[in-house]
């Protein structure tokens, strides 16, 4: 018993120690966010000499007269719409690829994978030309509408892998009871896929929250900026960068991400009770 407890303690100690090493850069950033701008690069100490909240105050004022609060709202809007869009559209495609039978299924699946292999930068210009012809530039449409059409193959593939693991025998009973393809999707596939759908939601949130290249290309007016775009505005190679404000706002921008992760990991790891369906 003693030995077991000691081993447990040792395990906790190791997890914490290693965890601290992992997040050392973040601790450094947190400390830098309370330092004065001049001190950030001139001292190596983790403790600020004169802790100050100025970085947070200055940073929150935002960019070009638009406060950071607005950027948070914009980022939330994009992230939430993207989550809904991805969950709907990708789960439909994944259901078709994993559980339904139709001609050219494998070919279409291969095409779907190939679309993931073309580097983003060469797609960007043709895409931009198309979106500018239909007048969508400087709106959120180029960032959101494609997601309603399952353009994120990563999630389709992820859901396919997960749905293939749902036992076919399990689906046979309702089928015999006369449930149609759609009812099986809604009442069995979707609930059983909750852990995977939560993964899709978390990743979509994080990735759209952090994405900068396409947001930078499509959004120009500061009132439409997102958090990740606004953060980039603090650093400028030719002028005076506001490092303190950058670190302060970077810390704040991690809060929603961390919050989402902590709340949703329950569903992710612990799943939901599926006993009733399994019976």
């Amino acid at each position: 018993m003693r030995v077991k407890q000691r081993r447990k303690l040792l395990m906790h100690f190791l997890i914490i120690l290693f965890g601290l090493i992992m997040i050392y850069p973040l601790i450094w950033m947190l400390s830098a966010s309370f330092k004065e701008d001049v001190e950030i690069f001139q001292s190596t100490s983790l403790l600020p000499k004169n802790p100050t909240l100025n970085n947070y105050i200055y940073g929150w004022k935002g960019v070009s007269g638009v406060s950071f609060g607005k950027f948070f709202i914009n980022s939330f809007f994009i992230a939430i719409v993207s989550i809904i869009a991805n969950i709907l559209s990708c789960s439909m495609a994944a259901y078709a690829f994993s559980k339904l039978e139709f001609k050219f299924k494998n070919t279409l699946f291969a095409i779907m994978l190939v679309t993931l292999m073309l580097p983003f930068h060469v797609r960007l210009i043709p895409q931009y030309i198309v979106f500018s012809k239909i007048g969508w530039v400087n709106t959120y449409l180029p960032l959101l509408v494609p997601k309603f059409f399952a353009t994120e193959g990563f999630f389709i593939f992820l859901l396919v892998q997960f749905m293939r693991g749902i036992s076919n025998e399990l689906l046979e009973a309702p089928r015999i009871d006369g449930a149609g393809t759609f009812r099986i999707y809604m009442q069995f596939i979707m609930p059983l896929s909750v852990p995977a759908l939560v993964t899709v939601a978390i990743f979509t949130f994080i990735w759209t929250w952090n994405d900068f290249f396409s947001q930078m290309i499509y959004l120009s007016a500061p009132p439409t900026f997102t958090v990740s775009l606004a953060l980039r505005m603090f650093v400028d190679a030719t002028g005076e960068s506001s490092w303190g404000a950058l670190f302060a706002m970077s810390c704040l921008s991690l809060v929603p991400l961390l919050f989402i992760f902590i709340v949703f990991q329950r569903y992710l790891v612990e799943g939901i009770m599926l006993g009733s369906i399994k019976g």
Partner: protein, 294 residues
């Protein structure tokens, strides 16, 4: 196991409609256009001029293409396995309900929340530069460190470490996959008196293979297209002396900084073919080891 057929043929297409539309509207057009550009001289502003295979011939003889392929293959070959092994180990540890587990998971996931934020560049420098934290640690044991991030022989490895550091996504996917494994299997194993390690190799791992396969395929596809790490840390140059010149970074330099979008498109299609071949091989091999509990 008998094949499960229950849908009418058109129902498959019905569920696939959003994807098909999205593919035709938002993906296919840009892809076809970029394929066309790859056979042209296209400076982005004036209209493309057809040059046939010229771009492809030029890139076959471009020493910076060779260098960037070497850098990218090293990055994939070293970064991907370590990242995935690390992610799998931690997923297995974090699956259990030990006290404080939620906090631990969150801490270990934190680095991955960062993405390619501008702050990462500066943080990485704080770790790996001459006076960085790593060297301060080394000096405690009397080793004089070097400038890891700016030396041609070590710069790439700091980027590989960055990839491994951000192992959160595959970890989460493994966690989801582990959850899907029915407890019945473990109960059966316990009754048979299997050891923990035996259970892992004979039950957990085989049942997790769909997710392992997914993670391998996607991490490789994404690592081949890695751009942000080198873009933010080398300032978009691939410095020092091209030692962090990722393939897509070179593509970006050609297309966006040198206005050779035709050449960049050719580079992109060559990469697509490389990735497609590797992915196809992985799918062929998968039939031998990936197990679907259908």
């Amino acid at each position: 196991m008998k094949k499960y057929k229950f849908n009418r043929p058109w129902e498959g297409y019905a569920f696939l409609t959003p994807w098909l539309l999205g593919f035709l509207l938002f993906t296919a057009i840009p892809m076809v256009l970029s394929l066309y550009f790859s056979f042209t001289q296209y400076d982005v502003v004036t209209s493309p001029k057809w040059v046939g295979l010229e771009n492809y011939i030029e890139l076959a003889n471009d020493p910076r293409v060779h260098k960037s392929l070497q850098v990218t293959f090293t990055y994939v070959a070293l970064g991907v396995p370590f990242q995935l092994i690390f992610a799998l180990l931690l997923a297995v540890v974090f699956k259990n309900n030990i006290p404080g587990i939620r906090i631990y998971r969150a801490i270990y996931y934190l680095p991955s929340l960062f993405g390619g934020s501008v702050a990462v560049a500066i943080l990485w420098r704080q770790l790996f530069n001459k006076e960085g934290a790593i060297n301060q640690l080394l000096s405690l044991v009397g080793i004089e460190g070097k400038n890891w991030i700016a030396s041609p022989d070590t710069a790439l490895y700091t980027l590989i470490l960055l990839l491994i550091w951000q192992f959160g996504s595959p970890m989460v996917i493994f966690l989801g996959g582990l959850k899907q494994i029915s407890l019945d299997y473990y109960e059966a194993a316990e009754i048979d008196g299997a050891s923990k390690i035996g259970t892992f190799f004979h039950i957990t791992l085989p049942l997790l293979t769909p997710m392992v396969f997914f993670n391998i395929v996607m991490t490789i596809i994404n690592a081949f297209q890695a751009f942000t790490p080198s873009y933010i840390i080398s300032g978009g140059t691939g410095a020092p002396v091209d030692s962090t010149l990722f393939y897509t970074l070179y593509l970006y330099i050609k297309g966006f900084q040198h206005f050779s979008m035709g050449y960049a498109s050719a580079l992109a299609w060559v990469l697509l073919i490389i990735i497609a071949i590797i992915t196809a091989i992985m799918f062929l091999l998968a039939q031998k080891w990936v197990y679907y509990d259908e």
